[in-house]
């Protein structure tokens, strides 16, 4: 089929880690890429440290944009689009930054919202796959930037849900992983944070496959390709390959990673953070493999322009389909905001109870200590939901079910806290001086003895625990008939 391409256009994105340009001839469904360059500027570093974009970062950005403008002009590209994302959204001096760029380079910067960023990324990351005969009908796209991560789910190429979370590789590096290479404790703290954050993030439809884009994902693939001799295509990474990459990244300093695996040093410093984010999201979505895309937001801008012309940004800002569930500023959000508190509460309590009960068998099986952790977290979320709705619950039913939920949380808490103590002490034993070893070993053994004893208590409780009765009691707590008005 003959494709009608436009004359060249350019798209630049100013992100938290990089400033990146793509020059291409465009068609509504595909691109003919003429140039693709990236500069690691790390604007997000100064925003994380001081809340503002520093003069130094501004100067580097201006120099980079001048070069990019020259590159675009060399290809006779027009128009040149410039979009800015999370670090600029967060910066206290973003308006000055944008005005200075316009004054100094003539380039107009569009500061886009996280959900717009998510949609553009989706367009860019999936356009190649959409051309394939057997493109999956359901998929997710994740773009790990320096200051934020965008997540989109889609069905039959239509976006069903999208969100932007303010956690990127630069952000995680600056907050948690500043040593080079990151220490065991830093990695452990960062992992706990990511697990906690992503476990709490509601995802409406968990996709069966995930395309990951952004600098971290592509650099991680490049590292894996060099280190483990992977094929150039398809660009896929398994959980095991990512874990092996993490092993390298946590053992070698960035300069050595850069030298051995042909990475810029600045990027190598951020890779441990990128790998941890990817694995945390894989855990959340229960995926064992991801596909990597070299394309993202810039290609999305060019495709959107080819499809919608001058109105491209307004069109992207609108809900793409009537059934789209955005997490902000869109139809579903409006529905959630407008739904009565009572109806929302009934649904929430039902969901939270189901989530709690689904871990019961795994806790009884006692094969994976994470099951106890997950059931405990579910019990805490159920309690928090009950706390939020207490004012409109039937007081007697509330008291009864709250007590039961607390009992479950406490039982699981005793098990989990002991598991964590044992894990921490075991990790400490590896590097502990000789004089600490004998005492630490004594304590680990005592804790293990208690944990075994407590497992019997847990099992006795859950074997006789009536999940159906528990569900009924939760429902009675916030039934439409028994509801209190709440204003008192």
């Amino acid at each position: 089929m003959h494709i009608q391409f436009s004359s060249p256009c350019a798209a630049i994105d100013i992100g938290s880690n990089t400033v990146h340009i793509v020059v291409a001839r465009c068609a509504p469904t595909t691109l003919d890429i003429l140039a693709d360059e990236v500069e690691l500027v790390r604007i997000g570093e100064s925003v994380t440290a001081t809340g503002a974009i520093s003069q130094e970062k501004l100067a580097v950005t201006l120099a980079t944009l001048r070069n990019y403008k020259a590159l675009a002009e060399k290809h006779s590209a027009s128009p040149i689009f410039v979009v800015a994302t999370e670090a600029i959204r967060q910066a206290s001096n973003s308006r000055d930054f944008i005005e200075t760029i316009h004054r100094e380079t003539g380039l107009a910067v569009q500061l886009i919202e996280g959900t717009v960023e998510a949609t553009l990324t989706f367009l860019g990351a999936t356009y190649e796959q959409a051309q394939e005969k057997h493109a999956p009908s359901q998929l997710g796209v994740m773009d790990i930037g320096g200051g934020s991560t965008e997540l989109v789910t889609a069905r039959q190429e239509q976006i069903t849900w999208r969100t932007s979370v303010p956690i990127g590789s630069g952000w995680l590096h600056d907050r948690y992983l500043s040593s080079d290479p990151p220490t065991h404790d830093e990695v452990s703290m960062a992992s706990v944070f990511l697990t906690t954050y992503f476990t709490g993030m509601p995802i409406r439809r968990v996709p069966p496959s995930l395309i990951v884009t952004g600098g971290s994902a592509n650099s991680l693939f490049a590292l894996a390709k060099h280190a483990f001799h992977l094929d150039e295509a398809p660009m896929r990474l398994t959980r095991e390959e990512i874990l092996r990459c993490e092993g390298l990244l946590q053992a070698l300093p960035a300069t050595e990673i850069a030298e051995r695996y042909k990475q810029p040093v600045a990027r190598a410093r951020l890779l441990p953070a990128g790998a941890l984010i990817i694995r945390a999201v894989m855990n959340r979505l229960r995926l064992d493999e991801i596909t990597i895309s070299a394309h993202g937001i810039r290609e999305g801008v060019l495709l959107a322009y080819a499809r919608y012309g001058e109105q491209w940004l307004q069109r992207i800002e609108q809900p793409a389909t009537s059934n789209e569930n955005h997490s902000s500023g869109t139809q579903q959000k409006k529905e959630d905001e407008q739904e009565t508190f009572l109806l929302h509460g009934q649904q929430l309590l039902q969901d939270r109870t189901a989530k709690l009960l689904e871990w019961r068998e795994a806790v009884l099986a006692s094969e994976d200590i994470e099951a106890v952790h997950k059931m405990r977290v579910a019990s805490r979320r159920l309690r928090a939901t009950l706390d939020a709705y207490e004012a409109i619950c039937d007081p007697r039913s509330f008291k009864k079910i709250y007590k039961k939920t607390k009992e479950i949380a406490d039982l699981l808490g005793s098990a989990r806290d002991t598991d964590v103590m044992i894990q921490n002490l075991q990790a400490q034993t590896v590097k502990a001086p000789a004089e600490e070893q004998v005492g630490t070993q004594w304590l680990i053994e005592r804790l293990q003895a208690y944990r075994l004893q407590h497992q019997q208590v847990l099992e006795a409780f859950f074997k006789t625990f009536d999940g159906h009765a528990f569900k009924r009691q939760i429902e009675a707590c916030l039934s439409t008939e028994g509801v209190r008005h709440g204003k008192s």
Binding site: G51, Q90, E113, G114, T115, S164, V165, P166, R175, V192, F193, T196, Y197, G200, P202, S327, G329, K333, D336, E337, Q338, E339, T340, F341, L342, H344, L348, R380, R381, A384, T385, D387, A388, E390, A391, I392, Y402, S414, T418, M421, N424, A432, E435, E436, Q437, G439, T440, W442, L443, R446, L447, A449, Y450, Q453, H454, V483, R484, G486, K487, S488
Partner: protein
């Protein structure tokens, strides 16, 4: 920290968005209340209460995220981090208390006592320790009683070794507090609580 107080002014028939804002403001007030003690590393009770308040705020924001402005995701990330930092601090406090109890424990020849009597004695010691150290540090009496059982008490060499571990844990606690303090101070500089209020005020 006691159970969360029921939030007043909730209307079952009003929208989730309206009520979510009322609840989130109440939880934010709890964070502000306990946040007054953030600068004193010795106030472990109050720092624990701040952690619980942060956790309640986080859960509330997560539960109602879809009914609140998108900017709330940034707040959730910050509050989650604060909660984790204070969690690490609390874990150190608990470990320090347990280690001190174990170090004090003398090995006794308890062969004359029956098992039931030994269990009762270790429980009594655990309760006494809880009264001394505080219920938020010693939450699990069964665990402490198990550690304090006379027949399994650590030998002199093990106690000396536990003393080293205690010193390490004290150092770790200092590092955890510093990490929290730097983060907390940065949020205060950025007027974080006020930013949350503004997000909640936005329609």
């Amino acid at each position: 920290m006691a159970k969360a107080k029921p939030v007043m002014g909730i209307d079952a028939q009003a929208t989730t968005g309206e009520n979510a804002r009322i609840i989130a403001r109440a939880r934010l007030e709890e964070v502000e209340l306990w946040g007054r003690y953030a600068h004193d590393p010795q106030r472990s009770d109050e720092l624990h209460d701040l952690r619980i308040a942060a956790k309640r705020l986080r859960y509330t924001l997560e539960i109602f995220a879809d009914a609140l402005p998108q900017e709330i995701t940034t707040v959730i990330a910050e509050v989650t981090q604060i909660q984790e930092e204070l969690g690490a601090l609390h874990d150190s406090d608990v470990m320090m208390a347990l280690l001190r109890l174990c170090i004090q424990q003398e090995h006794e020849n308890a062969s004359g006592e029956d098992e039931q009597q030994q269990i009762q004695e270790s429980y009594a010691q655990a309760i006494a320790a809880q009264e001394e150290v505080g219920k938020h540090i010693i939450t699990n009496l069964e665990l402490v009683a198990s550690l304090l059982a006379a027949r399994t008490a650590p030998s002199q060499a093990q106690r000396a070794s536990l003393q080293h571990l205690l010193q390490d844990t004290i150092q770790q606690r200092g590092a955890h507090y510093n990490a929290f303090r730097i983060h907390w101070d940065r949020l205060q500089t950025q007027n974080f609580q006020h930013s949350i209020q503004s997000i909640l005020d936005a329609k």
